[in-house]
Amino acid sequence: MTLLKKSAAEFAAMLAAGDVTSVELTQACLDRIAAVDGAVHSFLYVDAEGALAQAAASDARRAAGTPASELDGVPIAVKDVLATQGLPTTCGSKILEGWIPPYDATVVARLKAAGLPILGKTNMDEFAMGSSTEHSAYGPTHNPWDLDRIPGGSGGGSAAAVAAFEAPLAIGTDTGGSIRQPGAVTGTVGLKPTYGGISRYGLVAMANSLDQVGPVTRTVLDSALLHEVIGGHDPLDSTSIDQPLPALVAAARDGASGDLSGLRVGVIAELRGEGYQAGVQQRFDEAVALLVGAGAEVVEVSCPSFAHALAAYYLIMPSEASSNLARFDAMRYGLRVVPDGDPSAEDVMRATRDAGFGDEVKRRIILGTYALSSGYYDAYYGQAQKVRTLISQDFAAAFDLADVLVSPTAPTTAFRIGEKLDDPLAMYLNDVATIPANLAGIPGISIPAGLAPEDGLPVGFQVLAPALADDRLYRVGAALEALLEKQWGAPLLSQAPELTPAVEPVETSGGAA
């Protein structure tokens, strides 16, 4: 267990030094998954055999002196929204139960090429629609800090896997905060890159113009290491940026010195105050003070259009989603429900979609279909796109005054499972601070800022940078992480309760648990 608490960067160093093998490391992760995943339920599918085979191949490369990358041999978990050749990919939905993609997402292909053994596929809200992972058709994931609470969403499985030490690294996706908000509520690091910075090829789309893949890790440096493996131009994704990534790992190492002299930090006035839990606000303010102590200059910036961000998001996202999800019609793959009698193709489509999609997915399909309808398009989708432009303009103005912008990642700490399930609007409000970055296509990171005094649960600190300046997030994130850990004396996760192994170890291979 002590072994597993190390960071991916430390594992990479140990593998390079021959202090541990990838097979040992991968087996340790698999053992941990077997021990605790019954309680946490981070994984929908664990590929023990495949991961160990990849680990053995990695050890052979290390032995031959030809590692494929710095992270060669460090195991990783992948959110179940990315296509993995030969491994089930359900997107947390019944409608894709049993579908085994014949191809790898570009990110997955890059992980394999870099030698990272893939432990399995992580749980998520169905089609990434949700902020709690309660909308998974395969049951919720539990927050390792308090198993009665949500791990955030939609990528609760990836965040919980990393927080529960089941995997040192994971892949998430972020459409409105699905990497950053789970990072915030599980005390882990989550980064959404600049739109176009990491390939979306093989990412099952919720909202194409907002979706991005990103790293889910325990440290800022690990995030940068993983980001450099999966990022960069992909000719298969037309929205991928055709230019080299900035030097991310270098920025993270540089930031770890804790010196932020000359950095201008903008505190977003609209993302604080009412609606923000007192302990969240307190930890945020303390973190800002630390940045000042490190030499940063803090200014307040205003982004008035953010008031409309959530509304615009809940028009654009469902509109795109309603079209993306049309392909799930039982004709070619996935679930097929054949009603009695002499059903037509349309009857089969209707019955399958009725049985295969959960309530939240249906809600968004209906919303999006309505918003795109003739006669409503201009009033809804068209207006939302205008708001999007205004939000980008707000960001542009703010970035004239500051190098990075900061806010709490989420307004509250993890809420209880079931607490907001019947109140979609309350659930949606959880993403109020993360959504603007998706609408504007800019990068954002959430790093642990401590525990809220009132409930002892993790608080996330969000840093935003202009498009293409992902390196600033690593510099500032690593600096703040170093300063906070100096105060705490150890990573925040060391304060998390020990998870008691399940009475019965969970199955480590086979179908969705």
Partner: protein, 498 residues
């Protein structure tokens, strides 16, 4: 509907047709619109597919640059403006042969718009205004098995071939065409034929209507004669030959006129053309409530073709059709009337190829425009669909030129080639069609003819050489047409020389 249809002439006397034509053209790019799959026709079903054209979850499109280039060239050849900036959009509707249940198409931002194409019908030029030419992807192809109609309703099951899914299409849409009167069906046909020739000249498509690489929808409405208001239109689909375009338009004129004359109204709907029975039947009812929920395709970035590129493509366009036809007419030495018939018979390309194969232009014209056009019409097919090649026509003419056969025998050689009996030389041999120029055999026949027609022979002896024709005819009758007429004449004159 069992009502007798109003005759076309009566219909046209009472109503003015307005027409809009939508033509889908499959481009002949090596790969599909948004992925690298091959586009070759006729491969085993579902062998030319990948995650993208199957619409598998997570797959993404990448625009085929060659397809954009073809679209721009088509736009330029149709005298269109080329958009400085345009986008793809999603057209959302559910159908089993559409892998994503949306078609990636262009909506309010087409790559080419505001053009025209001049077409000629019986010496009159009609300017057909082009509203737009836009890019889109083809759907898969459904085969409905069982049931009586071959359509999805009532079928026992359906098979879908996704090889066609994602093949680049250009949809060319005209503005409503009016003022055609009785010529409307002919204008429709001439437009599609001219468009096809233009696309062939550009080399952007195979434009094989019978293979579906060019497909036409005919929108047609009627207004009372003299009224300038457009009536309710129908959209007739499945019109897959030039002949059908004309027939379908003609049928719709009669059908709509019959209804309107009876005080009924026209239902705005999609109709299906039936080649075999020559009628259209009601398809899915179409109304303005049809809502495709178009929105910009978020997986693709907008396109802004650089002006230099567009100008480069414009400079490299082939000569316009009208110029090409004027040139060919001059080279071939055809009169205006002859050339008009050639165009009307859709024989320009066939004659060109026949001439290339060695025939004289006049001979090629004679066979294609009179002889073969008549046969195609009798069979109800397109001229180009006749099972004979320009090379075979040229060979038959060569046999005539050599004197091996005459025109009358040549018609029998056409019969044989069209009946699948092989190459012209083989047909001549197998049917024993070569002319007889053997003097012994001809001499006997001539003697018999002279004996049977003493009065005619007497006239010739008296110097009335023109009367020889009657004797030649008698010889030909004896020889079943296979005599060398020139030699027969010589023999007659020798024997009856004064």
């Amino acid at each position: 509907m069992t009502t007798t249809l109003m005759s076309y002439d009566d219909a046209i006397a009472a109503f003015d047709p307005a027409m809009g034509l939508e033509v889908h053209v499959e481009l002949n790019t090596a790969t599909k619109m948004f992925c690298g799959c091959p586009t070759e026709f006729g491969a085993e079903p579902n062998t030319q597919t990948c995650p993208t054209c199957l619409g598998l979850p997570g797959s993404l499109p990448v625009v085929n640059r060659k397809a954009v280039e073809s679209a721009i060239r088509i736009g330029l050849a149709l005298n269109c403006e080329i958009a400085a900036w345009c986008r793809f959009a999603r057209k959302n509707y559910f159908y089993p042969d559409m892998p994503k249940n949306f078609q990636t198409s262009q909506y309010d931002e087409p790559i080419a718009f505001d053009g025209f194409l001049d077409v000629e019908v019986e010496g009159e030029t009609f300017r057909v205004e082009i509203e737009r030419a836009h890019m889109e992807e083809d759907t898969g192809k459904s085969l409905h098995v069982g049931g009586s109609t071959g359509r999805i309703q009532g079928a026992d099951y359906s098979l879908v071939d996704y090889n066609r899914a994602g093949i680049p299409l250009i949809e060319i849409v005209t503005r409503p065409i009016t003022g055609m009167g009785a010529k409307a069906p002919a204008v429709a046909r001439a437009y599609v034929a001219t468009l096809r020739d233009l696309l062939l000249g550009l080399g952007v498509s195979d434009v094989r209507m019978e293979q579906g690489s060019m497909r036409c929808d005919v929108n047609l409405s009627l207004a009372p004669s003299g009224s300038d208001k457009l009536g309710t239109r129908t959209e007739t689909k499945n019109v897959n030959s030039l002949r059908s375009v004309e027939r379908a338009a003609r049928y719709e004129v009669s059908r709509q006129a019959t209804l309107l004359s009876a005080g009924e109204s026209i239902l705005q709907e999609t109709r299906h053309w039936h080649e075999d029975t020559g009628v259209t039947t009601s398809g899915r009812e179409k109304s303005d409530a049809d809502d495709y929920r178009y929105f910009p395709e978020p997986d693709l970035v907008p396109m802004a073709p650089p002006t230099e590129w567009v100008e480069e493509l414009r400079a490299a366009l082939p000569e316009p059709l009208r110029v090409q036809r004027a040139r060919l007419q001059a080279v071939w030495g055809f009169t205006d009337l002859e050339m008009r018939d050639v165009v009307a018979s859709d024989a320009v390309g066939l004659i060109e190829q026949t001439v290339t194969a060695g025939s004289s232009a006049q001979a090629a014209r004679k066979w294609w425009v009179s002889e073969l056009t008549r046969r195609a019409n009798e069979d109800g097919i397109e001229l180009a669909e006749l099972p004979i090649t320009p090379q075979q026509v040229a060979r038959i003419q060569a046999l005539v030129d050599e004197g091996s056969i005459n025109d009358k025998l040549a018609r029998q050689v056409f019969d044989g080639v069209l009946a699948g009996e092989g190459e012209p030389d083989g047909v001549v041999a197998a049917r024993g069609l070569a002319v007889v120029s053997d003097d012994a055999a001809l001499g006997e026949a001539v003697d018999r003819a002279i004996a049977a027609n003493p009065d005619v022979a007497e006239k010739i002896r008296d110097g009335k050489v023109a009367a020889a024709g009657a004797l030649i005819g008698a010889v030909m009758a004896q020889m079943r047409g296979q005599a060398d007429a020139g030699r027969v004449r010589e023999l007659i004159l020798e024997k009856l020389a004064p």
